[in-house]
Symmetry: C2
Subunit: 245 residues, 2 copies
């Protein structure tokens, strides 16, 4: 399901890189390009670098925030240079594992692969929104791929994975079914309201509670059934709070 | 033996692509760049696209012909778009197979991966000098990778193969030992002389004989021992010719 695999570029500085991304995607059969607050788009440099992939560029969608761009996705993978030290841990996938995971889950809903700004990469807060991180194995002395090259390699691995999967005629659904990001957001809202109802969060001093809880649930990745169960628990907690108020 | 794997670019039109090639190579641990008659080099566009890989660019060697650039290599693989129809057949390797073959044979002598001019690719006569052809699996409706992207993907596959080979600690030599291109060239000279000595080739009308023989031997890929044996046969034939003259 290559059409369900979305490439998201955040805050792209050089419009030419957007064109190169479109071309790299089309050479590997991908068509869904989303741009979060690019510096300049549409732009002639983007068109000229896209070459025969102008159709991908023309269909590209613009968003103000990453949250909006991933709202209907069930899986989000962020790209990162391996050398970066994180203050939090996420499973790190190789490019090959990343491709297999995206392809497998794209059978039931859109999935996203996210690239950060050219020189800075993804910020910590963007990386926290991702279920997994991926990094391209490279020369440890000079792992500095430009963003167009990184997109080309990852799209190539996705295409290779799709050929393998075609060969295996492997059409069964993945075992777990995961909620969409927008469903998770509704859960977080519900969680925050409930925690306020039960006075765990004091409205004037919310502190870091929700940030920490989001980090935890994002890493734990609840399945649809588990999320429904959690929602049930919240409803019960809210009922209890109302009775006692 | 990544340092024994040579990337050769022929008649490059845009100097920026030479810089991108150097960067792509260095990110994957390759350092040996050879340029055959580039349109313009050195060039500022090459330097700026090379970014942190200026050292690879500065060590790049210039050649007038492909023959000179591959003379000390034992294996030459040419890149090609799968769609091209050839008047001759060569084994076609996937990018992954190409990487494994280059890496395996690079343990004993230099090996080369050759890229043609940006829009035209390798000419038929250049492709004929190659033992194998390789093509990157891509979208059949738009398989148009730019040369920098193609170099990036193939260098990435080579780097991946080298990591695998490190893991397996696989240090045995490949089973066959192949002659260098310059040794083959000496054989072809010897062959032509001998065929002239025995009047198979008439000096005024050489015809296509040598072209066809080169094509045959290049495809057959004689090992060192076999080439020595063939040289022995030629010596014997020449002795016979002299006796009878």
């Amino acid at each position: 399901m290559l059409q369900n695999i979305r490439i998201i570029l955040i805050n792209t500085f050089h419009p030419g890189n957007i064109g190169s991304a479109a071309r790299a995607m089309k050479t590997m059969g991908l068509i869904d390009l989303c741009l979060v607050s690019p510096k300049r788009f549409p732009a002639s440099e983007a068109n000229s670098m896209a070459a025969g992939a102008l159709d991908v560029l023309e269909k590209a969608r613009l968003f103000d925030t990453l949250d909006e761009a991933i709202a209907d996705c069930s899986l989000v993978i962020g790209t990162s240079a391996r050398t970066r030290t994180h203050s939090f841990s996420r499973p790190m996938l190789s490019a090959e594992q990343c491709a297999a995971q995206l392809l497998s889950e794209s059978r039931q809903s859109p999935v996203a692969l996210v690239f950060g700004q050219e020189t800075m990469g993804l910020t910590n807060s963007e990386l926290e929104k991702c279920h997994f991180h991926t990094s391209i194995d490279a020369n440890p002395d000079y792992p500095v791929l430009n963003v167009a090259s990184a997109i080309q390699i990852l799209c190539y691995e996705i295409h290779k994975a799709s050929l393998k999967s075609d060969c295996a005629d492997n059409n069964e659904k993945p075992e777990q079914e995961y909620p969409l990001i927008k469903e998770l957001e509704l859960f977080y809202e519900h969680l925050e309201t409930t925690l306020t109802d039960i006075d765990f969060i004091i409205q004037q001093h919310p502190g870091l509670v929700m940030t920490r809880l989001r980090r935890f649930f994002n890493r734990a990745r609840p399945e649809v059934k588990e999320l429904n169960m959690l929602r049930g628990i919240l409803v019960a907690a809210q009922k209890t709070a109302k009775k006692n108020s």
